[in-house]
């Protein structure tokens, strides 16, 4: 952690012109980086400098910059979202880097997340998994009174622990096998804790798993790396829950 106000960093950034380009690393150096800057603001500054030299800026996904939208997707120094635990890249600050440090920045790498340009990838596979069953079928206007069905605080809290997934895909990016088990498991686990999820419970896990398979994600080998990089710290118990739900669905 740097205690200086300004540091210099060397950046090794993945540049790829389009989905079919092979891609390469390019080196940049940036001086006078204020340590209170966020990592994305550092990239903003780099892009401003590039544009002042009439060069093409680096493309990266970002939106809310407060760790909730799940847009940002950078592998920083080998770790999805960078070195700080439970921190999305947009909430990472430059004070966590040393003066003169070389920082490697790569996109999420997975067959299911093809690169669009530079550090931007296509994560629509997640939408398709959700569309396969990550919902409760209830048409608008058909709902009973919200308090008609009490749900114990324990279950509601536990459902919330899984529901906070921001869908960033760091789990896939960090997994040595590129598995989407944590993402898929989190939604299955959330709805398995709630009575509203009950009627479609079996069909949901079957369909979502089937879609996950189709998208070309890898196997889960219980490395637990996904939990470690997850910006909201979703436990791999989500994955274990998905498996028991799946077995139950198959045998009944």
């Amino acid at each position: 952690m740097s205690t200086q106000d300004n540091i210099s960093v060397n950046l090794k950034v993945w540049r790829q012109d389009g989905p079919n380009d092979k891609g390469r690393f390019e080196d940049y150096s940036l001086k006078d980086v204020n340590t209170h800057m966020s990592f994305l603001e550092m990239l903003d500054v780099l892009n401003e400098n590039l544009m002042k030299e009439k060069k093409t800026p680096i493309e990266f996904d970002h939106d809310c910059r407060e760790g909730i939208c799940g847009s940002c997707n950078l592998v920083i120094n080998g770790i999805a979202h960078g070195p700080e635990a439970r921190t999305a890249a947009c909430q990472l600050h430059m004070r966590h880097f040393k003066d003169g440090e070389t920082i490697t920045i790569e996109p999420w790498r997975a067959t299911a997340f093809p690169v669009i340009k530079d550090l931007v990838v296509d994560r629509n596979a997640f939408d398709r998994i959700m569309s396969a069953g990550g919902y409760v079928t209830v048409a608008t206007g058909n709902a009973p009174d919200a308090n008609a069905l009490p749900i114990s605080k324990v279950h509601a809290d536990s459902a919330m622990d899984y529901a906070i997934c921001i869908g960033c895909g760091a789990c896939v990016a960090s997994c040595p096998n590129s598995s989407a088990a944590l993402f898929t498991g989190a939604k299955i686990a959330q709805l398995s804790k709630l009575p509203q999820g009950e009627p479609e419970r079996k069909q949901r896990v079957k369909s979502m798993v089937e879609q996950m398979e189709k998208e070309g994600f890898g196997d889960c080998s219980n490395f637990g790396e996904c939990e470690a990089v997850c910006p909201v710290g979703i436990s791999i118990s989500a994955i274990a829950t998905m498996r028991t739900e799946y077995v139950k669905a198959m045998f009944s």
Binding site: N77, E106, S179, D219, C220, G224, I236
Partner: protein
């Protein structure tokens, strides 16, 4: 394809199969180890030899057990290899720089080397069976008799083998690898089979580590004892 057959081929089905086969193989190892440890009884190997003869006499039952064991092994190995191949397919371009975040991550030497440790163990098992079951590497088959009953002196075979420093070294290496494989394997099997209570999973991780160390240490005990002691008794 029936939905059940499909389910077995999904990443979830495969993982459950890996966990199940792994647990049975671990149970087999425990049984195997307890048989081995009977060699340490100072009776000139009689208990051990009688145990081996008892197994041998089971006849068709033994064959069935052996066939099951082979199926467990091959299934476990087949899935392991296919997970590896799938992983290559799921990320064709690798990171130039990759690091574990640490913390709750269970990525370590053990978990990253499952394929390698597993492959070496598979190779070892084949050699091991050829060595002690079919005595392929022995110049002769040692015999002994107790109460007039003649039987193979397997204890002698073991003793001869483990007086050879090369064999002891090779065995020790593989036994340590088995420990390494089990360190991730036992815990992983629990998770694959649905252990999900966050209060219990850390305990299971410790249990996995302890089982791994105990089994590896147990298997190491015999060759090291024989070699250092210069023989069985």
């Amino acid at each position: 394809m029936s939905s059940f057959a499909y389910a077995l081929q999904t990443t979830i089905g495969r993982k459950i199969l890996t966990g199940l086969t792994g647990i049975f193989l671990t149970l087999f190892l425990i049984a195997h180890l307890s048989g081995n440890l009977s060699l340490l009884i100072p009776d000139g190997g009689e208990a051990f030899n009688r145990y081996a003869e008892f197994l041998h006499d089971l006849g068709p039952l033994l064959w069935i057990a052996e066939i099951i064991l082979v199926i467990l092994f091959l299934t476990h190995a087949y899935i392991g290899i296919s997970i590896y191949l799938n992983k290559k397919k799921a990320r064709p371009v690798n990171y130039s720089y990759y690091k574990s975040q640490g913390g709750p991550s269970k990525q370590n030497f053990a978990s990253r080397s499952m394929l390698i440790s597993g492959s070496i163990i598979l190779l070892f098992v084949i050699l091991h069976v050829m060595h002690f079951k079919y005595h392929l590497f022995s110049p002769e088959t040692y015999m002994t008799s107790y109460d007039g009953q003649e039987m193979v002196d397997l204890a002698k075979h073991v003793e001869v083998a483990f007086l050879n420093p090369w064999i002891v070294a090779a065995y020790s290496f593989v036994m340590i690898l088995i420990g390494v494989h089990l360190k991730h394997g036992v815990w992983s099997a629990f998770i694959s089979l649905g252990a999900k209570n966050p209060k219990i999973t850390p305990v299971l991780y410790t249990v996995g580590g302890v089982v791994a160390i105990l089994l590896a240490a147990g298997f190491l005990l015999l060759p090291l004892y024989i070699y250092i002691n210069g023989g069985l008794s």
